[in-house]
Amino acid sequence: MQFLFRYANPAQFMRLSDMLLPFLAAATLLAFAVGLYLGLTVPPDYQQGDSVRIMFLHVPAATAATTVYGAITICSILSLVWRHPLSDTAARAAAPFGALFTALGLVTGAIWGKPMWGTYWVWDARLTSFLLLLFIYFGYMALWNAIEDEVKAARAAAILALVGAVNIPIIKFSVDWWNTLHQGESIISGHLAPVFLAPLLVMMLAYLLLFATLWTVRIRTAILERRARSLMQGGI
């Protein structure tokens, strides 16, 4: 805990992120370059042909979306239990990225599904769970925006995030159950050929690095905005 609290100080965070940001950005670009290269050069799937390459955009987006929610959950716990001051800012900053990754996952999933199913949407269990996750992100962001008192908004949003965290596995379970009931389709059937694993893992890393980079930038911006505001208030 002491380790974390050392970086709770916004000034410390700014200094730390000043150092890390260039590396994060460079690593992100590198990972995307390698990942996209591997993704485009891997041999096509014997069943799905070239359209399988969408998987390298879709699956990492999906895992990134759930990872972001995990990050928000951890930040919310830190905020509620230990009153870690920067965690509120971090949670709020992360949410739009989670929503974007979820939306990206939905779009790429639909594009991937079209050649297989003939239509863009067939209520596949994973995509349906994803759609619900998108709504959960919207609700979370809406709550932050609706409550004017920032401290209250932070607490309320943290509680909502935790309620969501408990519920999301239940929702996922119920959607899977619903899907088997109605004999739905699925994009990913069976296991992955090992040759696909490398590009997939690299792309997952790339997405996570992208999130880490953009998230850091967004937290820094939030800290700077708050500084600017208190300077303006003090100067009256």
Partner: protein, 200 residues
Amino acid sequence: MISSLAAEKLACARGERRLFDGLSFTVKAGQALAVEGANGAGKTSLLRLLAGLLTPFAGRVVVRTAQGDSDDAETRARLVGWLGHLDGLKPQMTVREQLAFYAHLYGVAADDALLEQVNLARQADLPCRYLSAGQKRRLALARLLVSNRPLWLLDEPFAALDSAGQALVAQLMARHCGQGGIVIAATHDPLGLGNESLTL
């Protein structure tokens, strides 16, 4: 029964603004404290803090009872008789029903005789929507009496009352202190209780 309440270096913030800082005072059983100050100075916030509804930015509040000392907000809340700006009355419920609700909620028997004391006996079966502002306040006083709590926290207790009503409030406060209770009131008017006063 409460023997004393001590505030130790209380600090309270509203948003970014610090309302008060390093506030310390003690009130013993049978004493009253008037909290004065301009509007927005933090009188209501201080009362809510003492009631356990608000958490202080810094400092603590210690109450001494027969069970010992406690600085826990939940425990303190159970000792509080609260009279805030809002009356807590439902328009659709009658005076008698409203009083009975709060009595049972606070774990005491309902007592219609209290309505006599606050001069609302005739309105016992009148729905609260038909009460005047002064009558609503007096019903709130009856609620305060029925709850039988030792620590009275009153926010502008004389507001909305005519001179008879204000005399009633003063009389009830004096009686409460006489019985060993504590009264802490935010007010612009003097309490007339030979009390201490605190300005924010």
